[in-house]
């Protein structure tokens, strides 16, 4: 391991401090060092949108705090859920008096901490409703959606929920749109190399050179299949074979497509993959209205890529396309 860190046990503290200094036009600190808020939050009369999750996925999660996106974020250790207190304090930071939508990912730790935080917040008179993302197809069969992990589809869920809240919608409307967003979204990841948590100092799993792990999770959770690395075109086809039939996506569908590197993959390779993906979409009569290609949801310095596809109705199309400004994702009104 050879990295840009001070104390390996304090990487999150150090990074958050730097982040706050770098993006004063977007974010502000709170009393809880593990909670960052939009610089204008809480915005009176606006439904607050909160997320939270482990660190090491940057720009997720904190990078999506911004205009038309997230109002406050709870920040966990690397690959570990934020504490209940952090979620709770994020709710407080985001609450403008019309309730808070907590849009997070389906992991045991996050589920427990959010549950505790919601209980606490309710005791303090806050109204919190939640949507839990479960877009990762290979993580469980379709018949057990409650077992599926939330992965990069969370970004599109935040985009939709954030845009809906920015429109002035009620909490229930924000929740309904975010739920629809994630219900219309499916993802899959492919891993090509492992990553090292600084405090652990060595990779906690391994992928042999020349092999790829299909269905890998954002923390290196094992995938459904380890096989020889295939050319990018076949990799794309394989990923689509998992994702498209699951919703299913069909001819005539309008799509938002998000291709994210896992950290160390050269950006040009994401486009090599996208070249084939978009060929298949065209062949199958699907139209990509919102492509997002880049490092949107990473896993430290893992090599690999995730594919996320959302089927759009007119509401989702409007909300995904709405203006937003954040470190991770900016949409400019054209």
């Amino acid at each position: 391991m050879n990295r840009i860190i001070n104390n390996p046990d304090l990487v999150v503290e150090d990074a958050v401090r730097g982040y706050l200094k770098a993006h004063k036009d977007l974010v502000a600190p709170t009393d809880n060092p593990r909670v960052i808020r939009h610089h204008l939050a809480p915005q009176k009369g606006k439904v607050g949108v909160v997320t939270g999750g482990g660190s090491g996925h940057e720009p997720a999660f904190l990078g999506y705090v911004g205009d038309g996106m997230i109002d406050a974020v709870a920040i966990g250790e690397i690959f570990s859920s934020p504490s209940a207190k952090a979620f709770h304090d994020a709710f407080v930071a985001a609450d403008g008096g019309r309730g808070v939508a907590c849009l997070y990912g389906n992991y045991a730790g996050d589920n427990m901490n959010v549950k505790l935080a919601v209980k606490q917040a309710a005791a303090h008179g806050l109204t919190i409703k939640t949507v839990v993302a479960n877009d990762d197809v290979p993580s469980a069969p379709k018949s057990e959606p409650q077992k599926r992990r939330g992965v990069a589809g969370e970004i599109l869920m935040w985009k939709v929920g954030g845009a809906r809240a920015a429109e002035g919608a009620e909490l229930d409307e924000v929740i309904a749109s975010a739920q629809k967003a994630i219900d219309s979204t499916r993802s899959i990841g492919v891993g090509l190399s492992a990553c090292t948590i600084p405090a652990y100092g060595k990779p906690n799993f391994s992928i042999e050179d020349g092999m790829m792990e299909v269905g890998i999770g954002h923390h290196g959770e094992p995938g459904v299949k380890v096989m020889e690395t295939r050319p990018a075109r076949e990799m794309a086809d394989l990923m689509l074979d998992h994702v498209l039939p699951d919703l299913p996506f069909e001819s005539g569908d309008d799509l938002a497509v998000l291709v994210s590197g896992l950290g160390a993959t050269p950006v040009m390779e994401l486009y090599i993959l996208y070249d084939r993906l978009s060929e298949v979409f065209a062949e199958r009569g699907m139209k990509v209205r919102h492509p997002f290609i880049g490092n949107y949801f990473t896993s430290l310095e893992m090599m690999g890529v995730t594919l996320t596809i959302m089927r759009l109705d007119s509401e989702l199309d409007r909300l995904v396309g709405a203006p937003a400004r954040s470190v991770g994702l900016t949409k400019v009104a054209l």
Binding site: A84, M112, A140, I197, N204
Partner: protein
């Protein structure tokens, strides 16, 4: 010799902090096999921060347990924050109004811990979690007492049961948590949470035995 003075037993929690820190790497390595390799790091960070709050002269045992509990719940996050947070707060609850920690009280602490973990985590015995160390330990302790065995011997039997429970996870398929998705592939290695839980129970048993014999 009858029970441990609760007032001066806060040091037990400091011993837990030391035990976790001493096993930080080992716990992460176990977690690395079928989890994400951070169990030792997570535990060590949470426990160390509780240790710092407790200082050199820790408060009475229930307060010390509550400091540990709230530190884990507030600062630690992960799965372990809520799970161990509940575990230790329930242990503290069992001591309410007591001045001595007797054998019965420790039995109540273990039962409370077990309930707390099940309530928040909704896992069952056999799911390959820390419950698989905690549940047999609690049963063994109660059984030893029911059989009329003295407190120290009941503690020994509890510690053996915890270890056996921990080892039994080797043969289990994970049903909850990160490793659940591995299905059959999660078999063959011990569970990280069961390992830290066993360590905690053994450390408590040793600490109590030492205090009983003082």
């Amino acid at each position: 010799m009858s029970g441990v003075r609760i007032e001066t037993a806060g040091g037990l929690v400091k011993e837990l902090v030391e035990a976790i820190n001493a096993n930080r790497t080992w716990l992460s390595e176990i977690d690395g096999a079928i989890g994400d390799g951070d169990h030792g790091i997570n535990m060590s960070k949470g426990f160390t921060s509780a240790g710092a709050k407790l200082g050199d002269t820790p408060p009475p045992l229930p307060e010390a347990l509550n400091v540990l509990s709230s530190t884990l719940m507030e600062d630690m996050g992960g799965s372990m924050g809520p799970l161990y947070g509940y575990l230790f707060s329930r242990m503290a609850d069992a001591l309410e109004g007591k001045s001595k920690l007797e054998a019965d009280d420790f039995g109540a602490m273990l039962r409370g811990a077990l309930e707390g973990v099940q309530e928040i985590g909704s896992a069952s015995v056999g799911d390959k979690t820390l419950l698989d160390a905690l549940a047999p330990a609690s049963e063994a302790f109660d059984a030893a007492l029911a059989a009329g065995k003295p407190f120290p011997q009941a503690l020994d039997e509890m510690a053996v049961a915890a270890e056996r429970g921990r080892d039994s996870t080797r043969d289990m398929v994970a049903k909850v948590g990160r490793s659940a998705r591995l299905g059959e592939r999660s078999r063959g290695v011990m569970d990280a949470g069961a390992s830290s839980c066993c360590l905690i129970l053994q450390t408590l048993a040793n600490g109590i035995k030492t205090r009983l014999s003082e």
